[in-house]
Subunit: 471 residues, 2 copies
């Protein structure tokens, strides 16, 4: 049976700060095998028999990063479509948009399989079995949830009381005592956030249980331009009308109220990697139970998780600690409080400090830049441009730029000149000069940029033309 795996890629994952940031959220975290959670979710859906395309609902700012991620792993070249949100609006809006869009494009009888982008499922075979059952139930006009068999009395998830495929009731995150009782009874399942239904079934349910969300979503989609290519489509949601959709979870808006809900109990090696504690369990421990990703020296330390890309970590007399180091921010946390990392993220957001938002390496449609050092009157960046990519034709009022190519080859427009700059060559862009940087080659271009001037803000830029539509 044909269906559309639909990846929900929203939310930040603030409990996984400092790796997770607003512009580099949790689904983009790479695991030790080199794949991101997002890539795993996409492949998980794409591999299923009958998947006709992969639809992704995410923030519009993340589009080029999503495309980069998919390009890396989409060897089977399944079609990829996107619904682009101007800002986050909970799961009811995202799922309503997806259902209406799929009904438009593929017909109302088309089945959607909703997969959050930031979960891990280790047993693909069991997952495939479960989706087959879910699609079967969805075809019978049921709204299908996936219920995970608990392996501990978790208090961080909602529960479903089930009898075979029938949902008896949905339960909010329980107290520790209740969680223990649910776990022991064997009749309760974790509510995983994965769903399966026909587009028409969901639209009917929305009409019945939250008609305001359905009608606001319909109006929003009417206002939103749809771009269609040979192997992709992009629906860019209109901000003003999107803002009018009520902020609600699909569980509360529909699932808990509908009578045609079903559940597929499954044991698929599921984890939502909700904290650094859960994340650390993906790694094997040493003889003292320390799990180390990077270079660390431990002394009288046990059961710690240490993640550091470049810095050396010395650990003395530590127990049950989490240490996560990044170029501009460091987390040290008690494992038993790893859920509380979100409070650090919130505090940084409140201070409007950039470390809640960006890494020192910033992704752009054309590649990346990394700030190596900043000072009052100069800034040094490492710029990496993808093969064939091009920055906008631009000009700065207050800063000059020295460019030194250290790998690959650059084509540079500098005022009225156009030149090639090779490895170990440099060029100089005076303030006020129109310029453009391109990588005409087949390898990545790596360039060191030294900016000099009295004002070095990213907003001192005039764009004349831009292949990514930013002019």
């Amino acid at each position: 049976m044909q269906f559309v795996p639909t990846i929900l890629c929203g939310g930040v994952g603030s409990r996984l700060w400092p790796i997770s940031r607003q512009h580099h959220p949790k689904p983009f975290i790479r695991l030790s095998d080199g794949q991101s959670l997002l890539q795993k979710a996409m492949l998980r859906g794409a591999k299923l028999d009958g998947a006709i395309e992969v639809l992704t609902v995410s923030n519009r700012e993340l589009l080029f990063k999503l495309e980069d991620e998919y390009r890396e792993v989409n060897h089977a070249q399944i079609d990829t479509s996107f619904i682009l949100e101007p800002f986050g609006k909970n799961t009811a809006a995202a799922i309503a948009c997806a259902a209406l869009h799929i009904a438009d494009v593929h017909g109302p009888a088309t089945i959607l399989l909703i997969l959050p982008a930031d979960h891990l499922i280790s047993n693909q075979a069991a997952f495939e079995q479960a989706t087959k059952q879910a699609i079967h139930l969805a075809n019978d006009n049921r709204l299908v949830t996936f219920g995970i068999k608990p392996d501990c009395p978790q208090t961080a998830y909602g529960y479903i009381e089930a009898s075979k495929n029938n949902v008896l009731r949905f339960i909010e995150k329980p107290s520790r005592e209740k969680a223990q009782a649910y776990f022991e009874s064997g009749k309760f399942l974790w509510n995983s956030g994965m769903f399966c239904f026909k587009a028409s079934t969901m639209i009917t349910a929305l009409r019945e249980h939250c008609p305001d969300i359905l009608s606001a979503t319909q109006r929003c989609i009417e206002q939103s331009p749809l771009v269609k290519g040979r192997s992709f489509s992009q629906l860019a949601l209109d901000a003003a009308s999107f803002d009018l959709i009520r902020d609600e979870s699909i569980d509360f808006a529909v699932m808990e109220k509908a009578s045609n809900v079903a559940v597929v109990p499954c044991d698929i090696g599921w984890s939502d990697i909700g904290s650094w504690d859960a994340f650390s369990e993906l790694l094997d421990g040493d003889e003292n139970g320390n799990r180390i990703d990077g270079h660390a020296i431990t002394h009288h330390s046990a059961n710690c998780y240490i993640k550091s890309d470049s810095r050396i970590v010395g650990a003395v007399g530590l127990n049950d600690l989490i240490i996560v180091d990044t170029p501009d921010a460091l987390l040290v946390a008690d494992k038993n409080r790893s859920q509380d990392v979100k409070h650090i993220f919130s505090a940084l957001k409140l201070q409007n400090h950039d470390v809640h938002k960006n890494h020192t390496t910033v992704h752009r449609p054309w590649g990346t830049y990394t700030i190596l050092q900043e000072s009052d009157n100069f800034k040094i960046k490492r710029i990496e441009v993808k093969p064939g990519a091009s920055l906008s034709l631009q000009m700065h009022h207050h800063r000059s730029e020295h460019w030194i190519v250290v790998s690959g080859m650059a084509r540079v427009v500098n005022g009225s000149e156009e030149i090639f700059v090779r490895v170990n060559e440099s060029t100089y862009i005076p303030a006020g000069h129109q310029h453009r940087l391109e990588n005409p080659g087949l390898l990545n271009l790596v360039m060191i940029e030294v900016q000099s001037g009295q004002y070095l803000g990213e907003d001192d830029i005039v764009r004349f033309s831009d292949v990514y539509g930013r002019a």
Copy 2:
């Protein structure tokens, strides 16, 4: 009475890693008032009535750093002399060298006041009182120690059992029980490592208790060139003959054996800042007892010390932890194990890892360089040259260098050319070209250097001439 404050600046202070490193040892650590421990020790001696010069015994590699440190604070322009060791050799050798040298230069009756470079003394008035008493006793041909009145039952120091100014016995670092008994009895003092004696008294004691050390030291000084200027002298100890001096502490070699030892009991606000725990106590705590030097966000954390120059630290659920962050290494340690930090240092030394030796910012006679990024085929440095300073005339076989001036002004010899490079100007030094960089100005020169080549080791350098004698 005239005397020579003699600063012993040896040892690494490995318990204060990662701030303390082999080439940037503990005395160079700066406190929150901007002064280093070394500068404080030097001023402590220089301020005393009767100080005729300050003599420093230290490693020869540290000379230019010592001179820089002293220049910064030596407003009274007291003469500074140096005995330069080719490597560390414990306190007997250092003190024997100092005594013989001072006897030669100022006469055998001259008094030396031995001050370790890495201690803190908060009560200068009490210290002055104590030194007056010590000098008086030294003038009576006594070998004087300074005994600190204990304020807790420390196990990290040796003790002196005293009766007035008389030493009854020296005691090695005691067990916890014995330390408690000593502390309670009120008759015991900490052995501080500060001493006072006439040069001739020490020479006589060395002849009696360790004649081999005296004669080996005499032979070493005979082999060692003495350079004298108007306001300084430098005795550069000959490595081969210095190596023949027995490695011994002055306590074991002389003090514990001599009968003419005296002690000055004192309460001078002394600390040897022997660990991060002690170091942290220099800072005031917040309402949860957290002492924070840098930008940290704490959540359910208490009694922690967090030091971070540039990175943001998030602390969740931590108690009694020490977190010290530097550009290339991070320490996280239980306060109760802060003595054990030395094991991390030793492990890194064993691995021959550069983080036990250097910081990313390396001091040179002409200024500093900081490695901003390293890769296989390029390296980026921030180079800061002091006014009037000059690097050697040099050449590299395997790397080219791009230089961009971001502050100040450079004079550059590049092959047969000599040019000035101003702010926001650049120049290029091809591999194989003789070149020299100078700062002819009155302000610091700051330059970004991008090295490009297949081999980027610091040893790819041919020096043709060097004002610091390194050619």
